[in-house]
Symmetry: C2
Subunit: 254 residues, 2 copies
């Protein structure tokens, strides 16, 4: 059993990708189950096999603790770690190849709170990886692209498990926009030039340092773009996850 | 009129610091007004002079658009930019030295969506700065410290205005913990050593690159720690904001 966390900022398309990827796996005869870890999810495009909302539901926490959505989301994130045993019990009843984990809507509630580490450890850190969803609307500008890629680096640093970054909802970009973003991934010099063109003020020194960090972290190179809507990029995502888990070898994945 | 945005992850103490800082300014005869920009705020410890909730309220958006809290927060963030004129109209009626802006509970809703740039431009980018609140519970570990400081660098890069980072809610740390965190700020080598001690796996390369970026960005050096509860660090925050706005000169701040 291998575990894949789908992580990204609010609106980056996590739930849709989990749903589309599950369907792709089904169609290719690969067994997978879905875990919903978002206590605030109200409509999800799949039927979860395990669901944190069975034990923690955002609206209930709001009522019970008399909290607004902000405070309740923080409490939910912390309660999650305390209920992790119930989740691992449910998962223990499944015999499957992949567990697809749909993480909370707001990235920071997962990535920047201690409960995420507790969850990753409990489900098995050594058999886990992350798929980071880069929001296409944010990635369209050089500033947004660099910010998103830095955010993905921080998430990888926080969770300390292998990560694949995908450009999500690529159907929202025009062909030219998609080309531009893909070029930035493949050619750091192009990104650097565009960044300097757009940020012509003293703040650029930060951009330069962030850019250098991206180079060091090794962000540039391969990138997959996926569209849940058009069902594209899912096979590439599978190939990349195989590479990540097994280094490209055929493997017994139970 | 100068504008100060208080930005930080959920639970980092933004509203409390805005409230405590306003009181400190009042007590020192310095005029300031408060703007609440959080459509999801349900109880805030101050009386706002302008309030985004007059036009956008999270619970109403949830009902009106039949959205859960996640989706509604994203919609609210985008609606904010469309209502900015109403806010600038209200602010135009005030003659004050400082506008303290309390930003949305979840950092990513402010920092990673386009509306934040629209708002900063509309209120006057050249007379604005950010106070980034570092969450003490996150900053206690070297991994969390580096992650938080990188996040603050990304926010600065996104907003492109000067920034002061403060260690928030310092009353939550023991003396030893506070010493450790302050040492990390002053002495990059100490941080680097602790990071290597704690992250003894291949992911450390990311930590090293993030660390180098922090050095390049110029995070190390001065740090202020504040406690809204104990009302400490507020004078230092004021001095730092003066330095940021006026380079330490006495200035006509209207």
């Amino acid at each position: 059993m291998r575990i894949i966390y789908f992580v990204g900022t609010a609106g980056s398309g996590k739930s849709s990708l989990v749903s589309a990827y599950k369907e792709w796996l089904d169609n290719n005869g690969i067994d997978a189950v879905i875990v919903n870890l978002d206590p605030g999810a109200e409509s999800i495009p799949y039927v979860p096999d395990a669901d944190i909302r069975e034990w923690i539901e955002l609206r209930e926490v709001m009522d019970e603790y008399s909290l607004g959505p902000n405070g309740a989301q923080v409490v939910c994130a912390d309660l999650m770690a305390m209920n992790i045993e119930k989740l691992t019990d449910v998962l223990g009843t499944y015999k499957t190849n992949y567990v697809l984990v749909d993480t909370p809507g707001q990235l920071e509630l997962f990535a920047f709170r201690k409960s995420s580490n507790v969850i990753v450890e409990a489900l098995g850190k050594e058999r886990s990886m992350t798929v980071f969803l880069a929001d296409p609307m944010l990635c369209k500008t050089s500033n947004g692209f660099i910010s998103t890629m830095m955010l993905s680096s921080i998430v990888q640093f926080r969770l300390q498990i292998p990560m694949i970054t995908v450009l999500s909802k690529s159907d929202l970009l025009s062909d030219d926009e998609l080309d531009k973003v893909l070029t930035w991934f493949a050619d750091p010099d192009a990104l650097y030039g565009d960044m300097l063109d757009n940020d012509s003020d003293p703040q650029t020194v930060i951009g330069m340092e962030l850019f250098k960090a991206l180079e060091g972290v090794g962000v540039f190179g391969d990138i997959r773009h996926v569209s849940s809507k058009e069902e594209t990029g899912l096979e590439e995502l599978y190939a990349a996850s195989q590479q990540c888990f097994f280094g490209g070898e055929d493997a017994d994945i139970n």
